[in-house]
Symmetry: C2
Subunit: 693 residues, 2 copies
């Protein structure tokens, strides 16, 4: 039997395993797996450096199936190459409790590098992988293992493989992806592609499954741009493989891609649902089970046994597993290199191991800023900037940037260069006005490991990147989102720039901790929560305008990590009224509380920076902050009320903004929209059935 | 005095009026107005067909300032050309109550065609304008006024001006925009640009203010792609104007752009903050007041009087106002053409007038589907498809489409072609996998008028287009959003495709009505609400899976328009328990209610499709649905609870999903996640302090 025949049967195994899984589930997407099987085969058997028995090998190549709907293909690859994914899991594709969900989920299935399905995200995650790789390579490879400098704009300069020629190359991997029409149409991928070209991320090798079919029908209906030319304009190296079933041609293109210091897009012309007798090349092949009859004929045409289903020829399995053996050899070689590296650079090696393990540096919390009480105070974005810089000095893996708002977001790490093609050691990122791309790239960096990434923009523009924020939460990855300019406090920029619903909308995302600190010291504590939270994302919500630094606050006792806490009980007796607020409005309830107490009312003032953290506390703590018997409760937040009712209860009230903002100085807006001490006092009095005088 | 001198002083007037406004406000963005003044001058005095005394002239050219932060430039233009925007408004730039907010707001200031500021949105709105123009031209111009067919791909075929040569051309206008680096970096603009190129929207003429400066610093930091090449790849016609202060060169480029049947991007090399002595060409010019001294020197260098501020030379004002006179002549000519058109095609003319007035056709509500009671029922997306098609037959201006999910969203209008370059009369849109672009394009169509547009995708992907949804609400425009696959009912596609927080997140947006109908007849009623709502957007939230059609429901009495209503009071006495739900969960509470009533409990079942509509009802109605004395209240929604507490109260409860979904058949997910009749009964019993047996 010729190698060629084995190869063809290996590809058909991918096709029919995938199709059988979809057919058995009576749900799923056969089109991509059947069309892109040869592309996947070529990457996985000829290029991908990985070890199925050790999926977390740090220097493995990353593979991203950006068109996550083709998950059956990925599961087939994982099974065949020897990951811990038995054939039974494929038989339970898309079923409750399986590790083979409809779209690949990071953390659930070994070998799945990122959660994909929402189009364009995987594409951009890969850019984050490549950034992390380049950064760690620059930081750790020794002594001459750094990248070549960026080649001149517009030229395809041949890579000189400096890493291979250097002695201590321990970070050096590629990022492969299969991307689809849908990915290329999505703006998030366009943003990431533009940045990847700018940054000359040569380790990106993306294969485009150019099958000319979208869900609505032929791509000609909506997508006739010159894709290769567009990516060329971004600064990518582009190639076209006229027949995406030709393993040698794909292989040659990948090998060529590796020679260039630009990111590569290889356009592979394929047929969706390749092999299906009536559905191949049609949109019906995309997302519907083929049907028993269609699948039977497809198998017969391919000379494939109709039964048993989930058929894996022994020699095909052996062929795939052989790659596993070859790959574990690659890891062994890497391990030897790493051992030599450790001998030569023990501190560097220990540092890299620490970073990759996700362990924070010792004493990272020590020496963070503490802010003295100050009625004038400072903006929490400013306190955040100081805290971030203090953290950055302690935590070298803390890197990130802003979507072209660094001076406003206060996210620049002073004294460190920007990450650029010629400076991959840089810790500051200019993401450009590309919020969504930033979000997905930051997720990719977090998924890669070895770095703790953050991304920043105005809170109102969290809308632009919401799909990426959601995926960080769904994937349990520790992306840190910094959102400044958090209310009508934005002032003159007006309603387009004033978030009123965004805090609520972010609180809506499961598994995301939203933290809106009230002053500078709460901001320090909020950053500590974000950094310590290594298994899920955190959003920091920060003011543009100054807020007082409270007298009784300090970093040790401000209890931000419990989500809500008693800032002050004012009065001689048990509280009869609870005022609660987050962020800039805490200063208002504090003042109101003092004034109400002067009238003889016993007032509790609660600072409430995070609903999610508070709801994780035990009922004793929750009751200690909000005793059941105190029904007069007033929440104050310069945003919509939605959800506060849970804490204020039926007899409470919320001072909120249920409409869009306006353009005027912030102070005037707070007055006009009812956010003054007087408004709070008045509302509190009516809650207590007192007559306002 | 030479024309050239007058022209230069007119441009300087734009610069210094804008700079004075920013300086007086001590807030704002002088950089764009000063850099792009010559571009704006050229468009507004040499090309823009508009009538400042009649800003709503339907066939006016549209002007979009996509970089809305440069609002002072737009306000200066509006004032100088004679719109109802007195100089005093410029003096109150960014102040409470002015019509000159920080970013341009549609509906607030005459002549502002769209609300801009969030980058990329205006770019994409303009694409929507051009689509509406092409569609109305195809529908109404007579007899040979239709578009030329799309030219061959890749060729720049000279436009043959068929509209001008035909006799009855009443829809024929351009869309001009000034776009910025930020716009071009945003994915939403990339998506819209790709679609505009595909659709060959030749009426788009965009001038790119290529000033090489972003907020973080030089664009070289993050944006080095070949912009012209990228747009060329999209199918645009591109030109470069090396000096963006050269009126003749800009003018020539615009004239050339008009000759081509492709959308045009004219890259104008400019200097941000042009004229400022120390800040010109730096990012400090972007978003900070120049300062008195900087501005003084700038004026002196330009030979401009330092005082008075807001100086408008008389001859400059006369020059701008002269264009107004010329333009009202253009409108008169158009009016004559329209009168002749009305004589020749009275029905067509009346129809166009009706559409442009926003008035719906008579009897549009008659003959909509009514669905008989049916325990099996149908998916609300299917009922929506039938309703939409019935509406489309009655309402010819109803047009729209899906982001490559038409077969799943059930949004195809049967019997009508797709809108394409060669078929601008088409009413169906293939937006491609470009949700964000779709959102902003639909907004542009709605802003243009003459059409009632809708855009559709899966509910989970509303995240991708959230910024556009927000702007539809902020702008009070009647975009209709159709979101199907509204819960874990999505089933096997898994958590990436299952919205759990999206209904809450949409409800968070002020001025957006979110409607989640419970069955087929509520779906009909929901569409009627959406169509009738001509001053704000509506989001329809629809199931993938079948839901029963209720016996007691019919289109006349189901009261969807009141937001919540009593579906059934079951039992002999006043209700002691209220069950409430939206969408697919109403069937569950109905069944639970019947079973609880059989146990002797008096149960009220409330269908609650829309919080926003319910909260608009008077207190009598609200009390009639939720009597204060009934404290045992249970809400059931297959999404997060956030906000339901407002209706259930402190003594109530919510059956919700506070985590992401999973991949499995929908029925299993509902069971596993606690959405069964038994779960509801059990929870209701504990609310009533009854022991579950």
């Amino acid at each position: 039997m010729s190698d060629n025949d084995l190869q063809q049967r290996a590809i058909n195994t991918l096709r029919f395993l995938s199709a059988d899984a979809v057919q058995q589930a009576n749900s799923g997407h056969p089109g991509l797996p059947m069309g892109a099987a040869a592309m996947a085969y070529t990457i996985w058997t000829r290029h991908l450096r990985h070890n199925p028995r050790h999926p977390r090998w740090p220097d493995r190549d990353r593979f991203v199936l950006s068109g996550g709907h083709g998950s059956a293909l990925l599961y087939s690859l994982l099974h065949l190459t020897g990951y811990d994914l038995p054939l039974d899991e494929l038989k339970h594709f898309r079923q409750w409790g399986s590790r083979t969900p409809g779209h690949p989920e990071y953390g659930l299935t070994p070998g799945v590098e990122t959660t994909t399905g929402p189009l364009g995200q995987g594409f951009a995650n890969g850019v984050g992988f490549a950034i992390a790789e380049a950064h760690l390579a620059a930081e750790f490879n020794q002594p001459d293992g750094t990248r070549i400098n960026a080649d001149e704009r517009g030229k395809n300069i041949i890579r000189v493989h400096p890493r291979e020629s250097a002695s201590h190359i321990i970070v050096d991997h590629y990022v492969y992806a299969i991307v689809t029409d849908g990915d290329l149409m999505e703006g998030v991928a366009s943003e990431a592609a533009s940045l990847a070209g700018h940054l000359r991320l040569g380790k990106l090798i993306y294969l485009y499954d150019d099958n000319h079919i979208s869900i609505d029908g032929p791509t000609d209906l909506a997508f006739t741009e010159d894709r290769a030319k567009r990516f060329d304009a971004y600064g990518w190296h582009t190639q076209i493989v006229p027949d995406g079933n030709e393993v040698e041609a794909i292989d040659a293109a990948i090998r060529a891609a590796k020679q260039y210091s630009r990111p590569s897009l290889i356009l592979c012309c394929t047929t969706i649902g390749c092999g299906l007798p009536t559905r191949a090349g049609t949109s019906k092949a995309h997302g519907e089970p083929p049907g028993e009859e269609e699948l039977r004929i497809a198998k017969e045409k391919a000379g494939w046994p109709v039964e048993p289903k989930f058929y894996v020829p022994e020699d095909v399995l052996a062929h795939f597993r052989e790659t596993a053996a070859r790959n574990s050899q690659l890891e062994s070689e890497w391990q030897s290199r790493f051992d030599a590296y450790r001998s030569a650079f023990p501190e560097k090696a220990a540092e890299l191991e620490r970073r990759l393990s996700g362990e924070l540096p010792k004493n990272w919390e020590a020496g963070l800023p503490a802010f003295p009480a100050d009625a004038k105070g400072l903006a929490t974005r400013a306190a955040s900037g100081k805290t971030l810089n203090a953290l950055a000095a302690k935590i070298p893996e803390l890197i990130g940037g802003s979507a072209d708002l660094a001076p406003s977001n206060n996210t620049w790490l002073e004294g460190y260069p920007a990450f650029q093609a010629a400076a991959p050691q840089g810790r500051n990122f200019h993401f450009g006005a590309r919020e969504h791309g930033m979000g997905a790239i930051v997720n990719g960096m977090a998924l890669h490991g070895g770095v703790i990434p953050y991304g920043a923009t105005f809170l109102v523009f969290s809308d632009y990147m919401r799909a990426a924020i959601r995926l960080s939460a769904l994937s349990h990855i520790p992306s840190i989102w910094v959102f400044t300019h958090d209310s009508i406090g934005v002032g003159e920029d007006g309603p387009t720039h004033q978030p009123v619903e965004h805090i609520a909308a972010l609180r809506a995302i499961p598994n995301l901790v939203v933290l809106r600190p009230a002053d500078a010291n709460e901001t320090v504590a909020a950053w500590k929560v974000a950094i310590a939270r290594r298994d899920a994302p955190t959003a920091l919500i920060l003011t543009r305008q100054s807020v007082p630094t409270f007298e009784r606050f300090n970093v040790q006792t401000c209890n931000v990590e419990r989500g809500a806490y008693v800032l002050a009980d004012i009065g001689d007796k048990e509280p009869e009224l609870i005022l609660m607020a987050s962020g800039s409005e805490v200063a208002l309830i504090m003042d109101a509380g003092v004034r109400l107490a002067a009238e003889g009312i016993n007032v509790r003032v609660v600072s409430f920076p995070s609903w999610e953290l508070f709801e994780k506390q035990d009922s004793t703590y929750r009751e200690s902050v909000f005793p059941r018997r105190v029904r007069a409760r007033l929440a104050v937040e310069a945003g919509i009320a939605q959800g506060w009712e849970k804490f204020t209860g039926t007899d409470g009230a919320v001072i909120s903004i249920e409409h869009f903002g306006a353009s005027a100085p912030a102070k005037i807006l707070f007055e006009k929209f009812g956010f003054t001490v007087e408004d709070i006092i008045s509302q509190a009095r009516s809650l207590l059935n007192m007559r306002a005088d």
